[in-house]
């Protein structure tokens, strides 16, 4: 560290140069780490004209990858919502032995690398795995097909909803629900009229985060998908494939689609963040 950033510089009589240096450094870092790569994706995607870009997006395999990724997101979302609400409700409203353990378990996928999740599923459901012979006997296909992709995506995205909803539920307490109960509301009525409206923004925020992750997941899906193009290749896998094929424009076109989805999610997230606070 240079002396300029030493405690003396932070004293009331501030050194303007140090201030600008730090701001400049932050701006430069943001520029080169975030902004430039993002702009570059779109610039490269469109570098050979919009027609070539559109042609690459409309390539059957890329189109299918976009479709498959959407299907995965649409299927995992309601499951995530249900599990997230149930888990948050259980932990916020009840005390029971193993409550702390459950909390840790819910957050576990955050701390485990996705590749480990993928390998675990491979070793469990694979042909040589623990459940492999049973699945083969019943002709149930999990790995290298849609169910496997959905399972690992669920594993990776499962903590998001509970993580967002739980703190809010804990902060709000159960007074309103108890009041509803004394007024004779049924369990479903309490949930629909009291609990859900209270947590709706946190719920949406969690849903957005989970979806963003579901759409972008690469590592875990890469292990269990089998990468059959036009069948089990999700958008992130398709990008890698095109890049490996030296089809740079195709790869960047697919990447810009994924980035667009991410940007939309980011805007949604920022809007929702304002609502939850």
């Amino acid at each position: 560290m240079t002396p300029a950033i030493a405690p003396a510089a932070l004293a009331p009589r501030q050194d303007r140069r140090a201030q600008w240096l730090l701001i400049g450094l932050a701006v430069a870092l943001t520029l080169f780490i975030v902004v430039v790569p993002l702009v570059y994706i779109f610039w490269r995607a469109l570098s050979e004209g919009f027609a070539v870009f559109a042609q690459n997006i409309m390539a059957p395999d890329t189109l299918h990858a976009i479709w498959l990724t959407s299907v995965v997101a649409v299927i995992t979302l309601p499951v995530n919502l249900a599990i997230g609400i149930a888990a948050a409700w259980l932990i916020a409203r009840f005390t029971f032995p193993g409550r702390k353990a459950l909390l840790t378990l819910i957050e576990l996928p955050f701390s485990i690398s996705p590749i480990i999740a993928g390998v675990c599923y491979l070793l469990l459901y694979g042909r040589q795995g623990l459940l492999g012979p049973v699945l083969a006997a019943g002709d149930v296909k999990i790995l290298f097909a849609l169910p496997g992709i959905i399972l690992v995506t669920l594993f990776v995205t499962s903590p998001f909803v509970a993580r967002e909803v739980l703190p809010l539920m804990q902060a709000q307490g159960s007074e309103q629900e108890q009041a509803a109960l004394t007024l004779g509301a049924s369990g479903w009525q309490i949930f629909r009229r009291v609990t859900l409206p209270n947590i709706r923004w946190a719920l949406l925020y969690g849903a957005v985060l989970a979806t963003a992750r579901a759409v972008g997941e690469f590592g875990a899906v890469s292990v269990v998908s089998g990468a059959i193009r036009g069948q089990t290749n999700t958008l992130p896998l398709q990008i890698e494939l095109l890049f490996n094929d030296l089809n740079i424009v195709g790869a960047f076109a697919a990447a810009s689609t994924l980035t667009l989805i991410a940007l939309v999610v980011l805007v949604l997230k920022t809007v929702l963040e304002g609502r939850t606070r």
């Binding site: 694979g126 083969a136 990468a227 059959i228 030296l246």
Partner: protein, 331 residues
Amino acid sequence: MKTRLTTALALALGLASPVAAQDAILNVSYDVARELFAELNPVFAEKWQAETGRTVTIDQSHGGSSKQARAILEGLPADVVTFNQVTDIDVLAEGGLVDENWREAFPNQASPYYSLPAFLVREGNPKGIDDWDDLAQDGVQVIFPNPKTSGNARYTYLAAYAYALDKNNGDQAAAQEFVKKIFANVPVFDQGGRAATATFAERGIGDVLITFEAETGGIARQYADAKLERVTPSLSVLAEFPVAVVTENAESKGTAEVSKAYLDFLYSPDAQRILARNFNRVHDEAITAEFAANFPAVKLVTVEDVFGGWDKVQQEHFAEGGILDSVFVNQ
């Protein structure tokens, strides 16, 4: 209702089982072969229909071939494999999925095409790089990926080693010294072949890129502006691209016949022409003559002849503390 929904979903995803008079096979392949098979598959489908009256869909899966082999062992329903490493099919044979004698099932040790480590240099070849000797000179920067993680780079290592052995009448110490010099000229070891290509072609680092000859054509085409030039050394190591029917899967799916026909097709003149046009060397002499410009003369040696086979190479060279570690000092 539930079943109908699942069926609809399966149909929508194209996962539905094929209808009668239609065959479907899954070709599990290495990672950079997508465009090659995209070109080959329609030709086979046409031929198959003309011969049998049946339509055939060939699905493709591409990835690192060791990872692909692992996936097949765990149930990826491959009918045929087209790999770039012999050892990865051996793994399947050990797992009982591929016939033990798979190398005898098709001509040329079940390798319909082959390639070799070759060079790609900058426009006008300013450093005058023509052979392995030139890579060991001071002031030459050489780019190839890390042999610890890349099969491509292992071939590069073996080719340089074989060249030095040939030149020094089999003197192992001299060969190791030579390879060490080349390794000292590598400024950055990337993870894989594609990353090394980016280092050389996009970031403009290095005077020469070493990769499979089959790749050099595609790279030169992709980075046409850079006007990269292909150079074939005087001696190199034969790199096989082995194929096999995954017997167990093909028999249970009833696709054994079409799978075999598909691999046989790779040896036909039509397929060999497509392969040669994409800078893969083929055994068909007429086709080789047709694309003579793509394939300068080279003395090819095999891993079996020079190094005593892949098992031995693995033990002596690539295992922890092997010869590779002793020449690979500045990794």
